[in-house]
């Protein structure tokens, strides 16, 4: 069955958003910006999942998206608490300054 907007279009859009998120992770220096770029990547994966769920007429894609969103919410909460805790001790969230764990 043919859709007016084919699944490939949504796939390419998801790809573009994912690459933009990856660029954000690599290039930005603010830890919170990096985090937001990770959220953008997760969101693009959700878009691809829902597009294919429509293609294959299966609700499993939607269920997976539901779980991804829930886990992303938990991850954001924990990650932001971590950033706040780091900020309290180091007074900076520039990721270039957070290199305590490097070898």
């Amino acid at each position: 069955m043919d859709f007016v907007v084919p699944t490939e279009f949504f796939f390419v859009l998801s790809l573009v958003l994912f690459v933009l998120g990856a660029l954000g992770v690599l290039l930005r220096k603010n830890a919170i910006l990096v985090f937001m770029s990770v959220e953008l990547m997760l969101n693009s994966a959700n878009l691809a999942l829902v597009a294919f769920a429509r293609q294959w007429n299966s609700l499993n894609g939607h269920i997976f998206v539901f779980f991804v969103m829930t886990v992303a919410a938990a991850e954001v909460a924990v990650g932001l608490a971590l950033i706040v805790a780091i900020f309290k001790s180091k007074r900076s969230i520039n990721i270039d300054d957070l290199h305590q764990m490097e070898g």
């Binding site: 790809l15 573009v16 933009l20 930005r28 609700l59 998206v65 805790a85 900020f87």
Partner: protein, 484 residues
């Protein structure tokens, strides 16, 4: 270019622009707002993809909770002004951007040239089947055997009017064997077992009907009633009707209306095109006269119910209190007495049902069967009204609706839902632990100072000399509460 395609390009382009804005913005709050815009666009794309639930969850959870949390933390830390000018990795921006464009091109260009992805169609689900006992017999054991099944499917001890649950079986041909429940004696030789074929993606009721009459050599038979669990039109319910009662007569299911009487009208006979049919009369002045006929005026819900014939599927508006009747249509004209057509036609009613409800978004399998009676009483027609079962909510509820997703989440995915709930609880506890005030409480500081003062003789000497206490401030990791 269709409206939907233009809409997609506009919203998708806006989403990409928002994402780029988020990347390039210097102010972290602006970046967060751009990301909120991006999430809003993606929510609209979800709506375009027949995913209303996910779209709304995206807005409520992602933009409404996660991004608000981000904004809170950005404000809390005062991190709006981001300093991204670092000399060391200036080459990184250009290289990364070039690689990103190359990556997108490497995937998108072959796809465009190759005419799109090769995407298989969704697999239709396995057929689901249930057995309904409508035969003029005592309790039955029904066995389904087929090549696709490893072992035969047996439904045991099915009482009259009872239906088993829906069972998923592989698609294919099956032969149905009926046997008495007591003693498991087969009712017909295996060679005469009826065969049914079940196609994928469909739902069936297998109805056993008929009688076992050794005198006339008739065996019970099996009919395949389709249950189409697609959504009914608004405010209508679906009825699948089958005649398993009367071998000679063709029946019809009729809505009598409030008067609970069959109503007939006299009208001109018309042919297929709708022209009036005239009959010749042997009269010179008026050679042609319109033929008249008397037909039923009440609404017929399901017509042409022959014994063992095709089941009739009909939709009807919903209502609490229908007065239905099963009417004999084969001899309909014979009941009509010319002097009292309205009164005499009531004899054509085979069975009455008063106060019958028809519910929207459900499917009712309406089988008129012969109730098995042990005495020599006349066989009575009865209605097998075994279901208002709402099966396959996902098809009834519509693809992607909250009802459908809720149904799946709490049946098939109950364990993952519970695990994710536990995960959220752990995250909650983790956040609370991490947000505890850093550093020692004054109590701990005092205790440590006391210990320090006692155990360091050199410090004692110094303090004696200088006259003040000496406290050594050793940087150490936060100890957990040791309880002493």
């Amino acid at each position: 270019m269709g409206l939907e395609l233009a809409f997609f390009l506009a919203i998708g382009g806006l989403a990409v622009l928002f994402a780029v804005g988020m990347l390039l913005s210097e102010n972290a709050v602006h970046s967060a707002l751009f990301l909120i815009g991006n999430f809003g666009c993606v929510a609209m794309l979800f709506l375009m993809l027949d995913a209303p639930f996910i779209g709304m969850v995206q807005i409520v959870v992602y933009t409404g909770a996660i991004m608000v949390l981000f904004l809170f933390v950005i404000m809390l830390l005062g991190a709006e002004q981001t300093t991204d000018t670092d000399r060391r990795f200036r080459w990184l921006t250009g290289t990364a951007t070039a690689l990103a464009i190359a990556f997108i091109a490497a995937i998108a260009v072959p796809m465009v040239i190759g005419g799109g992805l090769v995407l298989p169609e969704g697999q239709p689900g396995l057929p689901q089947v249930r057995i309904v006992h409508g035969a003029n017999l005592d309790n039955l054991n029904v066995t389904l055997t087929g090549d696709s099944l490893e072992e035969p499917l047996v439904i045991e001890d099915l009482a009259f009017g009872e239906a088993s649950d829906f069972i998923e079986v592989p698609a294919g041909e099956y032969s149905v064997m009926l046997a008495q429940a007591e003693g498991n004696t087969a009712l017909m030789p295996p060679s005469m077992s009826p065969t049914i074929s079940l196609e994928a993606g469909n739902v069936f009721s297998v109805l056993a009907y008929g009688t076992l009459d050794t005198n006339t050599g008739s065996f019970p038979d099996v009919a395949l009633l389709p249950n189409e669990f697609v959504n009914t039109p608004d405010d209508e319910g679906r009825i699948v009707a089958f005649n398993a009662y009367d071998q000679e007569r063709t029946l019809a299911l009729v809505d009598l209306g409030a008067d609970q009487r069959v109503t007939v009208v006299e009208r001109d006979v018309r042919d297929e095109e709708g022209n009036v049919v005239y009959a010749e009369r042997a009269s010179e002045e008026d050679p042609l006269v319109a033929q008249r006929e008397i037909v039923i005026a009440d609404r017929v819900i399901a017509d042409n119910l022959t014994y063992g014939g095709e089941p009739v599927v009909a939709t009807y508006p919903e209502g609490e209190d229908y007065n239905l009747a099963v009417v004999d249509m084969t001899n309909f004209d014979s009941y009509i007495q010319p002097n009292d057509p309205q009164g005499s036609i009531q004899d054509s009613v085979v069975m009455r049902l008063t106060g019958y409800p028809i519910t929207t978004a459900t499917e009712q399998t309406f089988v008129i069967a012969t109730e098995p009676t042990t005495a020599d009483a006349q066989p009575r027609p009865t209605l097998l009204d075994s279901d208002q079962t709402v099966l396959l909510i996902e098809t009834l509820a519509g693809f992607g609706s909250p009802m459908a997703i809720g149904q799946i989440l709490f049946t098939d995915y109950l364990l993952p839902v519970n695990m994710v709930g536990f995960l959220l609880l752990v995250a909650l506890v983790g956040v609370i632990v991490m947000s505890r005030p850093a550093g020692l409480s004054p109590e701990q500081k005092r205790r440590r100072a006391v210990r320090r003062r006692v155990s360091r003789p050199l410090v004692n000497v110094i303090s004696q000399q200088t006259g003040t206490d000496v406290y050594v401030d050793v940087p150490r990791l936060d100890q957990p509460e040791s309880g002493d």
